[in-house]
């Protein structure tokens, strides 16, 4: 087994363990920390696939941004002193069945699709940029509009009644 393969299986194990911990731990703050670990290990998977750009973006947006917002939400909703919020997983079996179904579906897709003979050229960052402002410019802009809509909606819901 090559060092890359060993690295992949290690990261995969960590990813799986932390992801399970996210949904199974009762402590909400711990769940967010496990989520951070899971997101970072997802980034490491990108790194192992020679996609350093995606690794950095994953860290910047998810581990840096999303986790920050989540902790912010927990800290604002939970009282500073007093009882802590608990995470309960009543539908854990249904969730497991659903996850297994999705896994089988993805697995089937991966097994049947043709794999590239060798990895693409090292630096695809410039290609990515060209794709974003070229053929994918319209979907990219639409996503931005969607995000703005979500932002405006959130502000609308969060406004004080008066």
């Amino acid at each position: 087994m090559t060092a890359e393969a060993i690295g992949f299986w290690l990261v995969a194990a960590v990813l799986l363990a932390t992801s399970l911990a996210v949904v199974l731990t009762p402590n909400l703050f711990h769940a967010v920390l496990f989520l951070a670990a899971a997101l970072v290990s997802t980034g490491v998977v990108f790194l192992l696939l020679d996609a350093a750009f995606l690794f950095a973006v994953q860290l910047l947006l998810y581990a840096g941004g999303v986790i920050t917002i989540m902790v912010f939400a927990i800290m604002l909703t939970e009282q500073l002193v007093g009882e802590r919020l608990r995470q309960t997983s009543r539908w854990v079996i249904n969730g497991a069945i659903l996850a297994a179904a999705v896994f089988v579906g993805v697995l089937g897709f991966v097994v049947r699709s043709a794999r590239p003979a060798r990895p693409p050229a090292a630096d695809r960052t410039a290609d990515l940029a060209r794709a974003l402002v070229g053929p994918f410019a319209a979907p990219f802009e639409l996503l931005a509009v969607l995000l703005v809509a979500a932002l405006v909606g959130a502000i609308y819901f969060a406004r004080t009644e008066d």
Partner: protein
Amino acid sequence: MTHLIVAFVLLNAIILVVAYITLLERKFAARMQSRIGPYYVGWPHGWLQPIADALKLMLKEDVVPTLSDRWVYNLAPLVFLLPCMLIFATIPFAPGLGLADLNIGVLFFLAVSALEIVGLFMGGWGSNNKYALLSAMRAVNQIISYDLPFIFAALVPVVLAGSMQMSAIVVAQQGLFGWFVFYPGIGQLAFLAYVIATIAAENRVPFDILEAESELVAGFRVEYSGMKFALIQLGEYAHLVGTSFLGALLFLGGWLGPGPTWLGPLWFLLKAVLVFLLVTWVRWSFVRIRVDQILAISWKLLLPATVILLLATGFVVAAGFGRGA
């Protein structure tokens, strides 16, 4: 194997630089306040003070609060330190002298340094202390506000150089007045925004509400003692030193300078210390400002300004005035 050795040497060199930069700051602050600063430990001018401090912290008792979230509390200093050390991985100290000159070097730096906040939360939450928790909340506030201006300011040289690779950015700054800080208009404004965002991101006075001594004692690290406290301090200063190095690389031409090439790392260190002293100078000159003022500066001034600056840089480069290869 050579990579491991280089990494080990680099790590220890960084720790040494970080240790001595604290002495520099104390001496600098003392000068500004007409004092002498550390003097008695080591001759001349107390040069052994950082070593003595480190020894003292190693020998101190390690106190863990009974009601703390034990795992989170104990892991927090490590989680805090790790990204602060990792950011040095992509910085080239001279042509070819660095751990990994990634083609996304600047982005890697920004992404990894964003992870620092996780360790900060863990410390603030795990301590189970009101002051620490308040400090962590303020940290979230501040980091959400100042990460974006910091990134946008750092992206201006990236756009000018047309590359995210650190060595390519330095190479693009060659020539007389080639440093990006001398780039007319854009360079100076971007550097100013970078320094302001650095001060805020490093939580230093006047943006130090998250460890405001008079209100929160010591912020999120109030419960830490001994080596854990030392690790947090080390991480904080390492992050500041790393950001100073990045500033020197992006705006002040990195290892470029007169003299033979082997002087490169020395020039680079000198420029990084210059950026560090700039930040320190502000720290010891101004008073702390209020939370709402801090947020207003970021959202109403710095963020729009840096976005406009980045757009302007884009237009300048599109007009053919870029420095990219």
